[in-house]
Symmetry: C2
Subunit: 266 residues, 2 copies
Amino acid sequence: MENIVKSKDNPLIKLYQKLSSSKKERLQYGLFVLEGLRITEDALREESGLSHLILTCAAAEKYGDMLFQADLKNARVVVVSNELGRKISSTDNTQGIFAICRIPQEKNIVFSENGKYIVLFGLQDPGNAGMIIRTADALGIDGIIMSGCCDLYSPKVIRSTMGSIFRMNINIENDTERLFSLLEENNVITSAAVTDSGALPVTDYNFGGKQAVFIGNEGNGLPCDISGRCSGKIIIPMHGNINSLNAAMAAGILMWEMKRVSQSEA
Amino acid sequence: MENIVKSKDNPLIKLYQKLSSSKKERLQYGLFVLEGLRITEDALREESGLSHLILTCAAAEKYGDMLFQADLKNARVVVVSNELGRKISSTDNTQGIFAICRIPQEKNIVFSENGKYIVLFGLQDPGNAGMIIRTADALGIDGIIMSGCCDLYSPKVIRSTMGSIFRMNINIENDTERLFSLLEENNVITSAAVTDSGALPVTDYNFGGKQAVFIGNEGNGLPCDISGRCSGKIIIPMHGNINSLNAAMAAGILMWEMKRVSQSEA
């Protein structure tokens, strides 16, 4: 085990902090950060390109044996003082486990015959994005495309995915024309989740075949030119005097419906 | 308009801060706090027992005309300096609108013939509790019972409900025996949301009639003695190597299924 790092000026610690706070730095280095035992174990299990494992003294003693049983794949292990761990942590009660991972090369989504996909368009809240990725994984959604959203590799998104970031097929396509070309070339039937009263209730919509549902921004929903380019418009029927669900909840219910209907067909 | 309050030692400001941070103080005074334009408008619209409206100078200028059009029902209006507003705010960019409300007298839930209810048992995360209340309101759930949960009147719960706190029927029953007696006396069919593989997939469960679904704690789920006392055990079928949805998402999907099935019956 190497010497214990105590200074915030250590180059690796400085890198960790830059990657925590800046999308630009993440893009430039092609790296992102993790914090916490569970997600680090997920990263080790899922061949995620972990380059550095940073443990506080307390964490090395408590979790070291367990973590070192995993195949560390040449990841460098660095031990830092408990105090430094508290300084770089984004939580009040840190477990003292941090990691730096390589941003994976994007693999293009393969659109399967009855695949169910979700397109996040302009979603800005990292907690919502993370929760949708986690839910998509749990429900067996086949892929996610993000367009004009918050940064997938921000620590808040990563944390909310609870490890699903390493398992889900996620593509980023910020160019609207290329996004629609991709879906059209692959014969994906598209629908826009909206709150207009003229839209089809989701329970009446036919989710058969290869389907993608578009989910819009938390405050503004989908832009009209985007919902207008989708083959259909769907709505989650709502009650009384509240006009919208939280975006992650709406996405969750729509993904549930896509999978429920396709499973009852199978 | 009264004098502008500038000091943190002003008794009303001290009360506001106590109510923000302490459940004990909320219970003792029978009061809770709100922050933000939208939820304050909801409170004014929903006859919520608003006792004090606190506005910063900037907010009074910007939103005063709009807010004062509402029936303030004897609420006292207090103007504070922008700086003091920033100090008492729980957000980085405050709108400068705060309110103190009376905790309403609990009205017992009336269990209607085909009513759909949710029991939150031991839920601890305020964001989850608030999101479930908001979703229940949007989907038309008839009532919520909270047992051993985080404080319903904590600022984080209130904020996440997006105003649904003023519209939903919510009872608190921390005594397990009284909780089950209440449900039994009203002939409510109960089911426990679990992650045991032996449970019935939610899509095969009959949600007809008067139904209540129990949702457990985020980390531990429902205690066995509680799920064992429910008439049935249900599971949201999940995919692959993730074994649980976020508690609010699971509750949302279960509420959606309860209402979907009962609507298709109607």
